[in-house]
Symmetry: C2
Subunit: 449 residues, 2 copies
Amino acid sequence: MKEAVELHKGQFIEELKQYLSIPSISSLSKHKEDVKEAADWTASALKKAGMENVEVIPTEGHPIVYADWLHAKGKPTVLVYGHYDVQPEDPIDLWETPPFEPVIRDGKIFARGATDDKGQLFIHIKAVDLLMKEKGELPVNVKFVIEGEEEIASPNLGPFIQDNEEKLACDAVVISDTSFSEKGQPAICTSLRGALAMELTVTTANSDLHSGTYGGGVPNSIHALVQLLDSLHEENGRIAVEGFYKGVPEPTEALRKEVAEVPFNEERTKQELELDELFGEEGFTFHERVGIRPTLEINGITGGFQGEGLKTIVPKEASAKISCRLVGGQDPQKVFEAIQRHVADNRPVGAKVDLHQYIKADPVAIDSKNPYIQKAADAFESVYDVRPLFPKEGGSIPIVEVFGRVLDAPVVLMGFGLPTENLHAPNEHFHLENFTKGIETVCKYLQEL
Amino acid sequence: MKEAVELHKGQFIEELKQYLSIPSISSLSKHKEDVKEAADWTASALKKAGMENVEVIPTEGHPIVYADWLHAKGKPTVLVYGHYDVQPEDPIDLWETPPFEPVIRDGKIFARGATDDKGQLFIHIKAVDLLMKEKGELPVNVKFVIEGEEEIASPNLGPFIQDNEEKLACDAVVISDTSFSEKGQPAICTSLRGALAMELTVTTANSDLHSGTYGGGVPNSIHALVQLLDSLHEENGRIAVEGFYKGVPEPTEALRKEVAEVPFNEERTKQELELDELFGEEGFTFHERVGIRPTLEINGITGGFQGEGLKTIVPKEASAKISCRLVGGQDPQKVFEAIQRHVADNRPVGAKVDLHQYIKADPVAIDSKNPYIQKAADAFESVYDVRPLFPKEGGSIPIVEVFGRVLDAPVVLMGFGLPTENLHAPNEHFHLENFTKGIETVCKYLQEL
């Protein structure tokens, strides 16, 4: 299929640019219409690719796009999952070019959603398109389920899967929303951490107070918040919340060896990201920390005066966004309750404390020996001339656990991104080489199944 | 003068409304023209009041307004200081009516600058106006020095005073920028705390990073910042910076007794401000904490994602605004250096730390037995039927120390505000009763000198 991809790639990239120019930010209500537009765009791209029964299914949030082609009698059925929603563009001033005006530089396409996940999802749509163009049919049965709420933790897709078990029945779920280990080294992720996100708000008074008149005599919401937040970690990087580590498996020697096989160039990482030092839980390597250990990270903090110059107030309220990555048998709900208890037990004098839960998702482990995964590895190898690794990914795709459990099918996480492509950050991009080779790989995979 | 004030008060309040409608926020560069407009407005109000040699003097920042009337041969000279600049209106959504559209409700005028300091300054301008109207002359010589940079720590007024020692020579400096102890109980402040303000910025990487890919394995700027900030205080409210308390006098029994004389209704304060508890340095009362003890307050904090919902990033940068109130022999420069050392000694792994100094000002103590202060107390007593208290004020007016030192004159802090008038906060207001009685009091004071 290499020649066919080569022939159409100019057209495919033009289409991808259109797709990427829709600001489908699911977390911001002002973009609701844009998210809808991206859903419709996805649906018509599927129709154009020859898929049938294309539906844009409304939910309480953003729509789910469904399509299928089920004429490969006796052949397996593959369900492709992806998402057409994207992260906010903030901080906007750090983008070199506007996030929703896709630009190609040095063989990379720059735009919000380029690698996460429109670019990777579009690989599957174009693979199907190409197979239909070349052969007039597909070698296997294919279903697509594309959602618009992945970046806000898929609140409606879980129930949809539960309610449509039969419609979605399949032999394997294929997802491209992860990344290579490094450039040229494909990877099929075999573990995803669970997730838990929340917001901690501290209130001390009904108004900001003059720090001259009241400072030193009344509680300060920011002091209280930093005291609480600082109490969440020990100095050695370990999380200090009692009960947090319950269900975290002690890593076996075999697992540590497997993790150590994924290449890691510490000096290059430090240089690229301008890190003075790496830092994390004592006693673990970088890949162990981000792959098989749980984390608790503060993602944002806000309180008091933030304008130019100064304003001498005692701030009445401050808050922080916190998220955890969970592993093994950690139960997100139990972890949330442990943090709730910690916050209550450590409440500073005069602080009213509120802990609001946003999302939770169970951790997932996948057996790399499953034939659907080994076939995917073969397809990668035939295109990239190197066998994929099977890393433990640090990220979370909450819906993966639901797909695996409800549909009782193996989940194949064949990612085409690179870890350096700034997903969730300014200047997100996607290597076009992996876009075109990705289409080849998926065609190969569907043909070989 | 009571009848004269009564006769003109409608007109005076209309003029005050005009003055308050100019958004002269000195800290925000976009308001530069508004600040200039307020300077011009002040100058013409002084001219209208019969003052002579009115000048709007440019500086490197906002202008200084000067005026005098020097025909009271053999009589003392009083220099009135005030400021026409105001604090930012932020947070704007908590104002019940727009900050620069003055409104009168329940005998109070609501607007940014109502009590701090346009309303209080305008008392002096209208007192002079009234005396000129009634008598055709003033009972003493009067000079006005009105600046537009008090809220940003008077960077240009200090040098101006140094360069114009002769022009500004006087027997007393009168300032109305403080407040009563409570409604009906006037106060002449006899102590001001020094000030020191700074911004602490922590950087860990050159980009926000995906918390799934990097979380737990790289330093998090917010973790580092909260760790540093939390290390600034002990749990008992004491400041943990080595050397911070150098120069702070041990309070004598006499001083503690004097401080205890200022009335304080703890329950009412807690109720009004919706405080669960008071909090401060162990071993001191509320009035000691805010009046004679130094403080270190975090005024604002920002970092990472602050939008709606969540964004699972490891933030690259976070910062906090910090200000200190200083007392006794504390040297602001030495305190800054002590904090710098503390920050360097406690620098978290992988954190690049920057501490930027905004302002500093020495503490001031004033002898309440000075005759210019006792005469002011007499004037208050004749209008309010109660003798003023002489409290130790917690706030800082950095320029007071310079006035006292350079001009070698007593500083009379005859405030007409109330501590509950929301200065530096939303819904700032000023009691019109104290506006009109203030004019009476100032007329009386000038006549009796």
